[in-house]
Amino acid sequence: MIEEIRQKAKELLAASKVDMVIGYRRSGDGVSTVPAFIDSAQDVDSLVWDQNCVYNLANYLREFPGKKIGVVAKGCDARAIVVLLQENQLERENLFIIGVECGVTDISEKCAACPRTVSAICDILIKEKGRKSGAPGNEKDAYAAVEALEARRAEERLGLWREEFSRCIRCYACRQVCPMCYCPKCVADQTMPAWFSKATSLEGNFAWNVTRAFHLAGRCVDCGECERACPVGIPLRDLNKKLEKEAKELYKYEAGSSVEAKPLFASYDKDDPKDFIK
């Protein structure tokens, strides 16, 4: 697979079809990978592809306005690109999406419950050799954690989240690592008004984590980067997945499936659920 990725990258750069290819290269420790920003065909051979390629490279695309960018995109990265296109943050004609099909063998820990592994949108799809096309599908387990939590009593859930949020240090790595968190000034940083406390108090942390998740409702593509980036191990994905589940169950809405779709909260249906209203 990596040969095909390199070849495509080389081709794109050599023909000046793109100004830069964003992919993965080996880090100094010789095992993990880091995002690679390649702007010349000679450097293409440093690109790598394996189970350590965890980053969502869609996160970097907004940083190069006006430039033509080639990007290596896993299924989740591609879904993120779809949302960014849907929300007017990228220009499709400036992107060359090198879709990569993540396989059963080359997935990292965060991908365990990923339902789809094929890029939703791409200009070329590079497949794993000797594997039948199509996703290995893991839909069944996707909401296991959410459902387990739903089954518990409210006070237990509150206690659990209270414990988790108490560790939050408000480093905002979850926000910065998220492709969808592109606001010019996050509500967490605003002071007029101050939407919630900046203190690492319980209310401050509660408000921040709830807000972050809620602002991703109908937008999160479940790439799992927030949870991976969180230094204190808050299960942020369990928050995101709950909202994903609500959007799916209540409104049949799935983030990252269509560029043309109206965003979840910028649309409505006359027959939306209404039982909760007095």
Binding site: D29, R170, Y172, A173, A199, R228, P231
Partner: protein, 334 residues
């Protein structure tokens, strides 16, 4: 003064200390790592090899603290400083790099020169705390204290230190404060143990494999495009600064008529944003360069030391695996 102490004896001592002291120590949290906590059960104390995610810094420089306020209901604006917590505190399990971080922080918040800025909150926290260190036995592969004038078994900044010798701890009492807490522990040390300790120390030092050769001055590299290149993948988050034992930048915000001091970091775009909308460090390049310069250049020029103790946290926890040791060493100074 050194003593060989049974682990159970230490637990018993902590149990006893908790009666009239606040006791803080690393605590293992299932699946999440090790965190410093104020403990209510002596058996929760974790003195194993794993490093705490957050450094001990947060007990001296709080992630967020109210520093003053004014009376809300009356509508009058009179400052009312927050009363400091003055309970005696013992912190166990502080690693050499973290303790050394405190020594560096002292230079800023509690300088020897009484005319210098004296941070009352920091000083209060320092003076009411006794630091019982824990020498490292299994350094992480991201640790590089040795190449920054440190060592996994050093004791600067500690009042006493524990060496894990398997079944026992060897306790070394370093200061009067340390003695007041651990002096009552029974036991002595024999020559054999003394020798074994020295051997263990040497062995541990060798286990720190990562090195960093930061140049004496980074001046020449300031304008280099190098900084742009190395900062491309930076996410502008606060992981490296918040988890750093020596980063100490903070922000002052007003919430409900009170002033809050909370951590801030040079990686955030808002850090240097001015009211006019102007930002002297507009891109990741300037911001990341600032961090490296502060650690390996500016601080050295002001205080004669690097502002980095080589704990490796920023490398371990960086979501995109930026390695400050590589970046500093690779800066083009010619």
């Amino acid at each position: 003064m050194k003593k060989t102490v049974k682990k159970e004896a230490l637990i018993a001592l902590i149990e006893n200390l908790m009666k009239d002291h606040e006791v803080v120590s690393p605590v293992e949290t299932a699946g999440k790592g090790v965190f410093y906590r104020k403990i209510d059960k002596a058996k929760d104390v974790y003195l194993g090899p794993a490093f705490a995610v957050e450094p001990v810094k947060k007990f001296f420089l709080h992630p967020s603290e109210w520093i003053c306020g004014c009376n809300k209901e009356e509508g009058t604006a009179s400052p009312c400083p927050v009363p400091a917590d003055d309970k005696k505190r013992v912190i166990f399990g502080v690693r050499p790099c973290e303790a050394r971080g405190l020594v560096l922080l002292d230079k800023i918040f509690a300088p020897d020169d009484p005319a210098g800025y004296q941070d009352t909150s920091y000083i209060d926290n320092r003076s009411r705390s006794v630091i019982v260190g824990l020498a490292c036995s299994v350094p992480d592969r991201t640790c590089f204290c040795v190449s920054l004038d440190g060592s996994p078994v050093e004791t600067r900044g500690m009042d006493a230190v524990l060496f894990d010798m398997g079944d026992n701890f060897i306790v070394e009492i370093l200061t009067e404060k340390g003695k007041s807490i651990l002096g009552s522990l029974p036991g002595t040390i024999d020559a054999g143990s003394e020798k074994a300790l020295e051997a263990a120390k040497e062995k541990t030092k060798k286990l720190v494999v990562k090195t960093v050769k930061a140049p004496d001055s980074l001046d020449a590299s300031f304008k280099s495009d190098y900084w742009k290149k190395v900062s491309l993948s930076c996410l502008s988050c606060g992981v490296c600064t918040y988890l750093c034992p020596t980063c100490h930048c903070f922000d002052l915000v007003e919430e409900e008529r009170k002033k809050l001091r909370c951590y801030d970091g040079c990686a955030f775009p808002d850090f240097t944003l001015e009211t006019s909308g102007e930002n002297p460090r507009p891109t990741k390049k300037e911001r990341y360069r600032q961090r490296v310069f502060h650690k390996f250049d500016y601080f050295k020029k002001n205080f004669g030391e690097n502002l980095c103790v080589g704990c490796g946290r920023c490398i371990r926890f960086c979501p995109v695996k930026i390695d400050i040791s590589e970046v500093a060493a690779g800066a083009p100074i010619k």
